[in-house]
């Protein structure tokens, strides 16, 4: 039971045959295979069409950098959606966390006069505290989501639709609605734009480490098993002794934590935060999860799939632009892939029954 809820190899049609499953079947049945194939196809097509511009190290690195924030949010969204929940507030939570973080940094870095002059005497204290407070803000907001969903027994969609607007309102109140620009520039030079060993951007490294850790938690720990169990059958999970409400609160707090990290990362990269930005980021992250094969009905999904799902829209957009294609085609293409991915997910489920 627990194994079928895992979502990986066990759900493929040939799995019942156990040890006799051929490698062929194992590869083709792997739930992420087709979506990985789509990714590789896109890369191949764009490489053939633009061999000079598309497959360069610089471009690949930029694509990865541009996808980092969405990946962080989508990792959290994978957990939430596996529990058959949803968190629409992640984009606003990101903005709120970044605004709080920026405010704290500006406040601790020096006197207002010093900061106006572009000096940040206490920045080495201010930056770590600002980062921590920003991440905690995100986590607190996620925890609040979890409390409201379990405490008021309201659908996650409704609760997070409400908290989405609230977080944006709070961010606008704190920032006066304008982008906050007095952030220590060293945050950008030492983190956001920093290339380790001359080639590896810090945000990509951080995102990769977090993704690996999230994969480990989901696959190898009790927390991960409980997440799948709650999503595949809440009642059964409760009867088997899982404190479902407490687990859900934790999952939403994790999602918030990741939104806080994404906010700080965004702040480090652009060295400013604009409340007007990220109005679509929540949907981009949810789309990545869906494209990556996580079932919106809960109980099944993988971090690996989500990461592939996050890259597809970015690569598609990048490649279309390099081929001088009108921007509106991107919307059509990404939308078609979402529908296709969900259709495939449905087929897989029907077949399992």
């Amino acid at each position: 039971m627990e194994k079928t809820a895992r979502g990986d190899q066990s759900m493929l049609p040939g799995a019942a045959e156990g040890a006799q499953v051929s490698i062929w079947k194992r590869i083709f049945g792997w739930s992420n295979f087709w979506i990985l194939a789509v990714l590789l196809l896109l890369v191949t097509v764009f490489t053939v069409l633009q061999p000079q511009a598309f497959p360069t190290f610089m471009n690949a690195r930029n694509i990865a950098l541009d996808t980092c924030v969405v990946i962080l949010l989508a990792i959290g969204a994978t957990y939430v959606i596996i529990t058959s929940g949803i968190d629409l507030s992640i984009g606003s939570n990101l903005v709120l966390s970044a605004v709080v973080s920026a405010k704290v940094m500006a406040w601790l870095s020096g006197t207002p006069a010093q900061i106006r002059a572009g000096e940040f005497p206490n920045q080495w204290v201010a930056i770590p505290i600002g980062i921590a407070v920003g991440i905690l803000t995100g986590m607190a907001w996620g925890w609040l989501n979890g409390r409201l969903i379990t405490g008021l027994k309201l659908p996650p969609f409704i609760v997070t639709l409400g908290t989405m607007t609230m977080a944006l309102g709070a961010a606008n109140l704190l920032s006066g609605g304008v982008s906050i620009a007095n952030v220590p520039p060293v945050l950008q030079t030492a983190v956001g734009m920093k290339n380790l060993f001359g080639f590896l951007p810090v945000p990509i490294l951080i995102t990769a480490l977090i993704a690996a850790f999230a994969m480990f938690i989901l696959n190898k720990t009790r927390f991960g098993r409980h997440t799948y169990a709650v999503g595949s059958n809440t009642e059964a999970a409760r009867l088997s002794g899982i404190n479902v409400n407490r687990h859900l609160i934790k999952v939403y707090a994790v999602q918030g934590l990741l939104a806080g990290m994404a906010g700080v990362m965004d702040l480090a990269r652009f060295n400013s935060v604009s409340p007007a930005s990220h109005s679509q980021t929540n949907l981009n992250a949810i789309a990545a999860v869906i494209i990556g094969g996580t079932s919106i009905f809960g109980g099944a999904g993988t971090i690996g799939g989500t990461i592939i799902g996050a890259f597809i829209p970015t690569i598609l957009q990048n490649g279309l632009i390099i081929n001088d294609i009108e921007p509106f085609w991107q919307q059509i293409a990404v939308g078609a892939i979402i529908v296709g991915a969900v259709y495939f997910d449905q087929l897989r489920r029907r077949n399992r029954k």
Binding site: V45, F270, N318, I321, N323, A333, L347
Partner: protein, 341 residues
């Protein structure tokens, strides 16, 4: 069963991908065939590579930027330059950065861009400059615009002042007025508001109710305006800072049947706004010259790339015209109205 369907899905995506790529392929040949018969370069007999520049709009679906793109294309054709136009689908730093990064990968000879944030777009644009691509700012600007060759824009502050004068005249220099702005933090519209507020200082009998934001959303612009009309039945006038706001405010005034009592001055000259001007819902439009901004941007690029000109003025302003119901048929005015394609 699943495998067959999976293959179907895969095939569908493949077709989609190829179809999209096909679209791109068919849109490029005219430009390439133009370059196929190389005209002798200005410097001599050596055939010159056709210059390619990219214009990145602030947001892709706005007639102001569409007009700017047309201005750029027309000028480029005249000068034998190829222009590609790109833009994110929302006004968003992260989204615009993605577009910019893809454009950098293409290595155009120059980038014309309307940055979506004064500060946030600095680092991404610095990366373009570091990659050896000259950047020209059109419309919006950066706090530190020194990395760009120049910034070509309307004088938004003066435009705001002009709007204050026009609105004061319309309301008889007294009564309540408010500003309907788009999103906070956008250099151009913030300047308009600053100009408008400074302009109002000459009219002490006007009671200024401050700024309302519409998030660049027509529906929200309508509801905000309706609420302000409810709250202030004696409202005398509204200053709207851009097209989207104008479309919403026009609908709200029509619904409330207050088009006669409440006077409106709007920035921009989009098709909906021009229609509202004709109908008498709006009394005055402060129309920018996006065609000129686009054309000048291409001229600057050409001067830099071909003639080796290095020194440009930091800011080049294009003016604006004030359109009213009386003068709107005048071709000297109407030629500045924005185009939709």
């Amino acid at each position: 069963m699943v495998r067959r369907h999976a293959k179907g899905l895969f095939a569908m995506l493949l077709i989609l991908a190829l179809a999209l790529v096909g679209c791109g392929g068919s849109s490029t040949p005219p430009a390439q065939s133009g370059g196929g018969t190389p005209a002798p370069g200005p410097s001599g007999s050596e055939p010159e590579k056709k210059l390619k520049i990219t214009l990145i709009e602030g947001v892709a679906n706005d007639t102001f930027y569409i007009s700017m793109a047309r201005g750029a294309r027309e000028k480029a054709q005249e000068l034998g330059i190829e222009v590609d136009v790109q833009g994110a689908l929302t006004w968003d730093v992260a989204e615009q950065t993605k577009v910019l990064n893809a454009v950098i990968a293409k290595k155009p000879d120059a980038i014309l861009i309307a940055p979506t944030d004064r500060k946030g777009m600095y680092a991404p644009l610095k990366a373009a400059v570091d990659a050896g691509i000259p950047v020209i700012l059109v419309d919006t600007t950066l706090d530190d615009a020194s990395i760009a060759l120049t910034n070509i824009a309307s004088d938004n502050y003066e435009g705001g002042k002009e709007a204050a004068k026009a609105l004061a005249e319309l309301v008889g220099a007294k009564g309540k007025v408010f500003t309907l702005n788009t999103k906070p933090g956008i250099s151009t519209s913030d300047e308009r508001v600053r100009g408008f507020e400074d302009g109002l200082k000459d009219f002490p009998e006007i009671e200024y109710l401050g700024v309302q934001f519409n998030d660049d959303d027509t529906t929200k612009a309508t509801s905000v305006t309706s609420a302000m009309l409810q709250r202030n039945p004696d409202l005398a006038g509204i200053f709207v800072t851009n097209q989207i706001g104008g479309m919403g405010a026009n609908v709200a005034l029509k619904n409330a049947q207050k088009a006669d009592e409440v006077k409106m001055v709007e920035f921009d000259g989009g098709p909906d706004q021009v229609k509202a001007l004709k109908e008498g819902i709006v009394q005055s439009l402060i129309v920018q010259k996006p065609l000129e901004i686009g054309a000048k941007g291409v001229e600057v690029a050409a001067a830099y790339l071909r003639d080796g000109k290095k020194d440009f003025e930091a800011v080049v302003t294009t003016g604006f015209v004030v359109a009213t119901q009386e003068n709107m048929e005048d071709p000297e005015i109407s030629k500045y109205f924005y185009v939709a394609d």
